[in-house]
Symmetry: C2
Subunit: 315 residues, 2 copies
Amino acid sequence: MFEKNRVCELFGIKYPIIQGGMVWCSGWELASAVSNAGGIGLIGSGSMSADILKDHIQKTKKNTNLPFGVNLPLLRKDIADLIKVVLEEKVDIVFTSAGNPKTWTSTFKGEGVKVAHVVSSTIFALKAEEAGVDAIVAEGFEAGGHNGREETTSFVLIPSVKEKISLPLIAAGGMYKGISLLAAMVLGAEGIQIGSRFAISKESSAHENFKKKVIEINEGETRLSLKKLTPVRLIMNDFYNRVKEAEDAGASTEVLSEILGRGRSKIGICEGNIREGELEIGQVSGNLTKIQTVQEIINEIINEYIEVKNNLINL
Amino acid sequence: MFEKNRVCELFGIKYPIIQGGMVWCSGWELASAVSNAGGIGLIGSGSMSADILKDHIQKTKKNTNLPFGVNLPLLRKDIADLIKVVLEEKVDIVFTSAGNPKTWTSTFKGEGVKVAHVVSSTIFALKAEEAGVDAIVAEGFEAGGHNGREETTSFVLIPSVKEKISLPLIAAGGMYKGISLLAAMVLGAEGIQIGSRFAISKESSAHENFKKKVIEINEGETRLSLKKLTPVRLIMNDFYNRVKEAEDAGASTEVLSEILGRGRSKIGICEGNIREGELEIGQVSGNLTKIQTVQEIINEIINEYIEVKNNLINL
């Protein structure tokens, strides 16, 4: 299985399953668990200072001998400090997002680091290919957290990127089970990135209130919000409703920034304030019903993938 | 092929491909062509009076001996007149949308008419099942034209509906080629409904200007708009930009209704006013590059479906 899969080959992994690097969820515990289960665990540096990132990298190394990586939001002001840590610690996989891949890709490549870049459109995928990255993550509208302005969904984006790009393609957004992996492969991807389901895994460092809230909500209870600032998919809670009301009344970016305030994802995901926090999660949250270990999640995905693939002959 | 497919069995068709019933696109010419090619052609009654619908049904009968149907938007004020024509003409397939399936389903079933109902959420799918319909069409956020408020995409909606519903499931939104059909089946559907690609087929009655515009636009150039009225996916043209500007400034439903005016989809799709018309089309429009006959489209879809399915063993 996955013998000819270029994502597995590129990163030296057993299963083409990548854990999304998510603020307040994906520290060393989650990352090492995903890597130990045969996928790629990513430390989400979005909520970390350089020192904290260093600590998480060192702890991940202690807890897995298998490949893992760091997710780097390139627009961070202190991105150079984060990258310095990544290179010093000889992390050999990075997933970059939210910024221009041209700026840092050659630095990484010069140090032998494999680079995947996250995009929300075919145009950005072409730019990333031009910048010399090793793989593309195409993220659809249904994904949680920060997202593109084009609102293109996975069903449309995957074949569209695949048609223009020859690099290994990883699909993100709407991915949570074995049939997601198989369907993404049918559409042209060679792997998937899973966020939401790992965000509420046992090993996720998110607050228990957040995990329970994700399980409680039903289909259709997330929205892409704050489009006048940076679009972000979140749960429709009290905070969301205030934003929505302001947006419907034509609020300016200044007013919206004031409503957003600072550290709101920390308040929600890390500290567990379900009403007032920014609860970033994908549309698949409506289909998630339990907190599981990473190993259970990966086992279920692979078993379902094999079963459905073997039954396809009957379609 | 498709021997165990319940959509094919239910409607007595060769391929589980249903043409969307689209205003100003799907008259007798398109519907009969799709039926003749082995799918289900649907006359889109949304833009027709009862008399015109009758004429299109009679012409479709003259041009195909294979199963075809009528799409009925249940919220139309004169829906009873349209349904009277459908029953008098002994059309035996209807696809209903935009309204409560309870009101008319028993009438249809009493006359031996097969009913599929279009939904945008699992909750509505359950209600349709309860109303006694024969099949469910689950339409994702990426679909063109009028759409649900939940914004759930096909990648999330298909497995979600499948988990709760035992009826044959048809996936709509983002469907345009052989891999769309196979991926939708992997996710739990037994057929797909295609809108955009048929909207610009040779047999579509849409204006040439509209077809050319659909081919010209790139990925990411449609948006779900007019959410304060009824959400509709359309091309980002001058009309869209005026709506967007008003929405960003907090326009009321009254102001938006005034900007919309009357007959704007006719102005765009039927009369070919590309700047000022309401150009309803799906996200896949960015991936469409040519005007083809229905037969060419169906051949390409089936050939790709077979090829990719046969190669799946290597994944």
